[in-house]
Assembly symmetry: C2
Homo-oligomer: 237 residues x 2
């Protein structure tokens, strides 16, 4: 149930707005073809994503200083290059592969849904991706954000509370005037704890056909939507 | 002369992209009409703008803690309300008047020029305005930025060097890959000192018909342009 006037929608990006898995598998396959590499790119994509949470945890714990997501992706990638035996890639190829995360495609409903929602609300990403990643991604995919919010602006990764507090502060809004939109329970629960309104969007294919997580909302969110089009419908835009 | 490949254009906003003076005079006049106030709104607009640099200097010197531009505008406004004898305004009216800076209109060439430039470059404001101010302004005026950069992200006001360094860092670009676009010599000189490329745009009517400052570039900038359309022409887009 929507409690108050919503002024802004803050979107999780990886998995919620864009499909990271398909692009990683596709670009990996193209690179493998070009370089004659024998790699299971599905396994590679999942392994890269699986390294994400532990890498952020190393920043949270203080083991690593603040590093943005491009830098964390590169640390994980360097490990995978060894693990998957693809160290024939030169530095330019490694750097280009690392930036595949800038070149992800939106889910089919995302662009149009965002455009509808933008007519009534401020729409912004609130992502673990760094500002340049989110900016490059939006430009390539023609996603029109009103501003780009990122954990890079608070030097805390989601779901740390500082991320949500900083976003509301930069938007000059009360937490309850902001609705967090995500396909992930942990993100929404953290936003809810900071007073945000919340919308769970089903992305049950984010991890492919055998996804086991985030198949359903795990608690009471303000909106549960099939996709961005349904979200726009439910918000009356 | 353009020295290297430019990836992003960073725009000064007040005076360069938007005409602050006309909106202040217009909205002041409307408020005066509605409330029966006898005020010289031209003098009021100029006095408000004249308070801007001293207010930022109070932050730079440490006399004030970090405060964003909405907060500084309000401090200046509170003084003007006394000076111009308009203390019949209630709190909601004062707050609304303070946010006139969110409701400025672009110069006639700005929107189309930006649209052309956005086809080839990342375009972002790099303004002393806070993130919410810039976001609200762009939404109202239909200015499409790729991301919103603000001094609020470095907690330093232009022309402090940290502003330009932070912008390049967030864009993940070398300073020379960024071109600062401004109608103000001081901003461009500071950007140049940090390694940015620079474009001076003539806005000789920013302060009205009797403007005495920034009538000409005071040093060698990479581009000198009549307006954003001329800037796009010179950048070959």
């Amino acid at each position: 149930m929507i409690r108050n006037e919503i002024k802004a929608l803050a979107f999780d990006v990886f998995g919620t707005v864009v499909d990271w898995r398909s692009a990683l598998i596709r670009e990996g396959g193209e690179l493998g073809e070009a370089k004659g590499l024998e790699v299971d790119w599905v396994a590679f994509a999942h392994a890269w994503r699986a390294g994400y949470e532990p890498a952020m945890q190393r920043v949270r714990s203080g083991e690593l200083p603040w590093l943005n997501l491009d830098a964390l992706h590169r640390i994980i990638l360097d490990g995978l290059i060894e693990q998957f035996g693809i160290d024939s890639l030169n530095e330019a190829e490694r750097d280009r592969l690392n930036r595949v995360w800038h070149r992800l495609d939106p889910w089919p409903d995302a662009r149009l849904g965002l455009e509808r929602l933008r007519g009534q609300f401020i729409v912004a990403p609130l992502s673990n991706g760094n500002v340049s990643l989110l900016t490059n991604m939006a430009k390539r995919a023609d996603l029109r954000w009103d501003c780009v919010l990122s954990v890079e602006l608070s030097h805390h990764y989601k779901p740390d509370p500082e991320v949500y507090q900083k976003a509301a502060q930069l938007l000059d809004l009360l937490p309850e005037q902001v609705m967090m939109v995500a396909a992930h329970n942990s993100d929404l629960k953290a936003a809810q704890a900071e007073g945000f309104q919340t919308a769970f969007v089903y992305r049950t294919n984010e991890y492919g056909p055998h996804q086991t997580t985030d198949l359903e909302p795990e608690t009471s969110f303000d909106i549960v939507a099939k996709d961005f089009s349904d979200l726009a419908d439910q918000l009356g835009v």
